[in-house]
Amino acid sequence: MSVTTGITLSEKGVAELSERLGEPAWMRERRLAAYRAYERLGLPRWDRTDLAGLNLDSLTIYEDPPAVSSSEELPAALRQAVTERGEGANLFVQVDSGASWKKVSDALAKDGVIVADFPTAVREHEELVKKYFGATVPFDEDKLIALHYAAVSSGFFIYVPKNKAVEIPIELRLFARREGVGVFPHILIVADEGAEVTVVEGVASEDGAKQRVVSEVVEICPQPGAQVRFGAVQTWGDGTYNFTTRRAVLARDAKVEWIPGEFGSALSRSHARSVLSGSGSESYSVGIFFGSGRQHIDMGITMLHVGDHTSSDMVTKGVADDHARVVYRGLTDIEHGARFTSGFQRENTMLLSEDARADAIPGLEIDETEVQAGHAATVGQIDKVQLFYLMSRGLPKSEAIHLIVSGFFDPILQRIPIEGVRAELQELIDGRMRS
């Protein structure tokens, strides 16, 4: 086959990417508009999260993906998931932004559920994609989102027809191996009226010596009465600068659950927002983060209440160890007119070392009277009394700390409604504690 030529970020590069992916004209135009916005805008300024280390010069945004003919050729990290999944699983794998491998249950196809890698969806499900793509997260919201819309080349489009309940979670695995090449996945989930679906996304990479830039956008579009659960297990490599924006605009009686687990990257800024537009809509978030080494993890969730009789609840727990810095931003925003809102949030961070730092910024903005709302956030350390107690039973210090941290996370892990995700997060926590 041909030599893999990388595409560098530029107006010309973006146009070439569109051509290589065989896109319709409207998509090409959107990319170019996004690129212009990227050029025009300055880097976002976030308090407590400094982008000085981010390098966008001569950014390689695309390389032709590798051909993967069998599961043997998949990265070791993915091979286990692939071999473990039995019949009836729904597993879709992308390595280096290529649609590498999949396993689809019979039920999925029979029910008319669409799961397509994003570039294919743009070509083959044009009408649907065109309608919803970019409608929830505007392309020019900030420079890094604009970068995403200019360079998007992977991810998935999922459509669930009216009243269909997809029993088995749809599992999406994205893995990047090529050093220095950016990853720009778009996850677009359209759940039609009364549909129910659970999507679990796992992202990981081997970064080597080079920095990797990831700019991801997740758009969830639940129609009236639809229910979507979105779990994300983020374990990008040590060289990754990850920027992920997740958003849902909920119609009447819709429900969205976010289950984010942030473990990887050199610097990760992820933010999920649910806009509770429709009357009676509900959104929940159960999240975990774990920063070690010199990681910087910035995790945010916003519940914006607009319609009446809406509910939200956010529960987040995280740990910062070594020299890591973690920032939690939770906002319950109740607009005028959002009567009979119930909006709560709780967050706890535990520091495991002298040099770790944590900021917990819970926010409550209320512009309506008939509401119930509350928020609480804590930052604490290992309780010395508990540590002494466990050690007095013979547990070495490191094991006692491991047990206390497991105990710290246990109540929140119990609340995760997806068995597979719960087990995976437990394993990631244990792995961090052992090292």
Partner: protein, 254 residues
Amino acid sequence: MSQETYLKVEDLHVEIEGKEILKGVSLEVRGGEVHALMGPNGSGKSTLSYALAGHPRYEVTSGRVYLNGQDLLEMEVDERARAGLFLAFQYPAEISGVSMANFLRAAINARREKGNEISLAEFGRKLREQMKRLEMSEDFASRYLNEGFSGGEKKRSEILQMALLEPKIAILDETDSGLDIDALRIVSDGVNALRSPQLGVLCITHYQRILRYLKPDYVHVLLDGRIVRSGGPELAEELEEKGYDWIREEIGTA
């Protein structure tokens, strides 16, 4: 390896925040023996148990402690426990999120070599057996460690740990405080069931009540940081009758 247990405390001086609480305590406890250590509040009873366990806030300024010939004071908190020391706390810590069962299994395995961990089946069997003895319902195993336990339940949880960890020296720090008669009986029965030539018990108490169930072989009186009198079980009864002031007078005149 049934070496007879032997704890030797030699002229122990302990300070907390620069203030000397124990002013030269000496004590010997052998396997098969139950020693009661009695004293009024402030005499230093809990200081002794915390110092033996290795609590960082208690500073040993002089003296020695040997457990089966090993220098206990040279060991870390967890090493002392693995060497066979067990402290049943007066106020056991609560640890949310950690189930009793997981904790107990981890504590048992801490004493075993890697690869020789207790099997789930054996652990389950032992746990159920001991919980039954202590009249603890089985759902305690899945409850978070001591969380929301009543006083009596916490004390029984301490004795449950003792039963499963099979220590050589057990220090019961005011285990009787806050217990009603029934709980006291259950806890005492629990300790009595563990009596063996390998186990030495040091029962620290303010009141004589528990000693009716847990009959001591020796009774020592701790007053102002020193053991001022030692005797047999009848000493406890004398104290009950005459109070600690009687001992003070006796010491004063001697």
